[in-house]
Subunit: 325 residues, 3 copies
């Protein structure tokens, strides 16, 4: 195999190759405005090529291993389609816990074996820090597709790219995040990316599910305006991007506590009738009742387009870390 | 994505594009003689190309999602090989019930997500009507690979194509169906296709497992001769195509009832010694004792060739709905 | 399909096509020095091509079915990467026991169905003799990827190829096998291959887990020097290749028996400090404590390179049996 990591694993924040060649993608903290600009530009090129020809041979010669220790059909399928549309191939490994790979074998050993066959590894693992552990062992790039309560950086990157494609830019926007903001890995990472831009963030949740104070403090330091409210109505009219997430019943102390708030966070046709004409509604999916189906036909409903943008972002990441973008 | 459905979903029987572009394949009722002729001609071209070069780039640029809510290795593998031999790629999704896609997500949402990555979706689902529900939500073509007690149209289409390839034509043939004709989704759909041709159909089963009267009436209306008997010997000598299906023990009221008939419906070397020299024996497989292994080496045993024809029919369907045939 | 087996299935030892076209790969007994030389030469070409271009179109047009009745992620992934790097496609079938293929269907029927779609079948099965049974039924080549307590020939072939690549040749080497030599399918097959060369084999194990006497007798007949000892120290200094395998606790009569020997068979930095400077340490993986992680960074640690050589050997086998090498 000729692909080698060309940069040592750097602490977050240090100078990096702006084009990511040979790099692991572990955290949104690896990205600044310049690198996001590169990523989004390449993702835009990927979109154009897919629309014109469907697949193309940019990564012909490359084999990706999709190593999933827990199921995530959405993320896994998106990466499979991404590498295939780039002319590469995939070794798909599902449900590792049932297979011989996991028979007492350490994650580093599994990764060192699989990189013998492939040029990069996408890793989904239930434990925080698993992606970093894999990256430390591997010669080939590791892309974190979710490490339990840790990060899921490609989700936040596709969220940010969706906003850029739909709204034209991130600067100047008011983004409202709705739902369980305490436990939502997705909104935490997205907030960190928004903090790189001239944005304003509204948090809408019950007090008990508010954004963690340390994250609010971190984003405050970046000079981004933030506001918390329990009432969507207070911020809806000014919202450019409404980012809806699940509120899981099991997070509440009692079913009554849940029932008290859940209904008020369901987006309906009536809700968006009070929103801007050119705003968008996003959701990481799957949704389970947070957005009524009647909203789907509204052009502001961006959540299915968001899935498609996700494929373009993953294509761009693969092309970049494999040195072909 | 540039592939869009170009025809609205039409009620069965209405005029359609004879070349299927952008169409969902949900039911054998979508097919008339003209459309079957197109399908079989394209399937024949696929066979010729596979025999000459193995794979070719007719669907290069296309990604197929194989979405299986229940296992069906035979059907799934056939579609995977079909898209690969056409130069396309596949996103394989098995055992959806164990995966995050199904975590309370509706089928329409799952389908709308997966069509973001792909150009068509093959769907296997345990519930009747699932394929139609998916098709109503999707912009990309849906191919029904079995919706529980509903339909499994590609099975019937490959059965009909097998007869054409083996016997030269459908018109003029006597087809004998054997086994559990009451519950057999396969024979019901095949009978509907045979009714489009100048055929004669014999049904051989115990009275309790006879063809449903409403289906017999429907086929009678088409002017096709039908006959029911419990005795294969009564019709064997005139049979051009013997279509054997399973009799499942659990369908009977008592084990004794089962034992009384099961033996008489096992095809042996002795059975086919009484059949025409140029007839064929078919079976949708898997078989579990309905045809003795000694029959396999007889040139009239067409059931393994039937599997291969199935791949050509699925290649033809994919090429047609994706507008490349 | 145009690919046909061109040679009848020959008893082991009979003259065969030196280039394997159309042949089943069931056992290491199919290989002599000439055929191994061919295999290793082609594997070396595969390595060169992968290093230069990653993938190439030698098997474009070919579809491989990977039929795994029991999980073996390592072997399965290696074959998937192998066919993909050769420009071919794969139909992956995992966990057959949960799928419809296995619903009472015989292995020959399953194989005859799947060969309708593909050009060769890689079979992993828990029962000894399954690969031979499949090969007897199939028209297309069957490659045995492990049939329970039977053989796993591609493992032994990649082991031998690793030694050739790392040490330059097999002749003249002293190979020391360590661990459970009684039950180890891997070391049995490797010993048979070593017996074709001018080698010396040391067996290091507790008496209760020694190499089976009938195998020792077979290898003795080939004129190869063999020695058994329970003490690695007695042979370490003369060892060119140290082949380490697992000792499974459950093989022992009592935990105390296990504890008495297990520690002395763990390879550490101290162990290899007493070994030759240019020897290598091999392991079929996964390891569970038999080799300390501190050994991994030693250039003599060859076990991860061994995985990569495995892919080249499998590429070579596929190219040979499909007539493109």
């Amino acid at each position: 195999m000729t692909t080698k990591k060309t940069t040592e694993h750097l602490p977050f924040g240090e100078k990096r190759d702006p084009r990511f060649f040979g790099e692991d993608i572990l955290s949104v903290r690896q990205f600044d405005r310049g690198r996001l600009g590169t990523l989004f530009a390449v993702a835009g090129e990927m979109r154009g090529m897919v629309e014109r020809v469907g697949t193309f041979d940019l990564l012909k010669g490359k084999v990706l291993t999709n190593l999933f220790y827990e199921p995530s059909t959405r993320t896994s399928s998106s990466f499979v389609a991404a590498i295939e549309r780039l002319g590469g191939s995939v070794v798909q490994i599902n449900n590792v816990t049932y297979s011989s790979v996991s028979k007492g074998e350490s994650l580093p050993d599994t990764v060192r074996t699989l990189e013998s066959y492939s040029d990069a590894i996408v890793l989904r693992h239930p434990e925080k820090g698993a992606a970093a552990e894999a990256a430390a062992a591997a010669r080939k790039p590791i892309i974190n597709a979710g490490d339990g309560p840790g990060e899921h950086p490609t989700q936040a990157l596709l969220d940010a790219y969706t906003i850029v494609e739909e709204m034209g830019a991130l600067d100047g926007l008011t983004v409202t995040m709705l739902g369980d903001l305490k436990h939502g890995r997705t909104v935490h990472s997205l907030a960190r990316l928004l903090a790189l831009y001239n944005t304003k963030i509204n948090y809408v949740s019950p007090e008990s599910l508010a954004m963690p104070p340390e994250l609010v403090a971190e984003i405050d330091e970046a000079g981004v305006g933030q506001m918390h409210t329990a009432d969507l109505g207070a911020v809806l009219a000014d919202t450019d991007v409404l980012y809806v997430t699940r509120i899981q019943k099991e997070r509440f102390e009692s079913p009554a506590d849940y029932d008290a708030v859940s209904g008020s966070y369901v987006i309906t046709g009536e809700t968006i009738s009070r929103a801007k004409a050119n705003m968008i509604v996003m959701h990481p999916l799957p949704r389970v009742g947070e957005i009524a189906e009647e909203v789907d036909s509204d052009p502001r409903a961006a959540y299915f387009r968001q899935m498609e943008y996700g494929m373009y972002v993953r294509m761009a990441l693969l092309a970049l870390v494999l040195g072909r973008a």
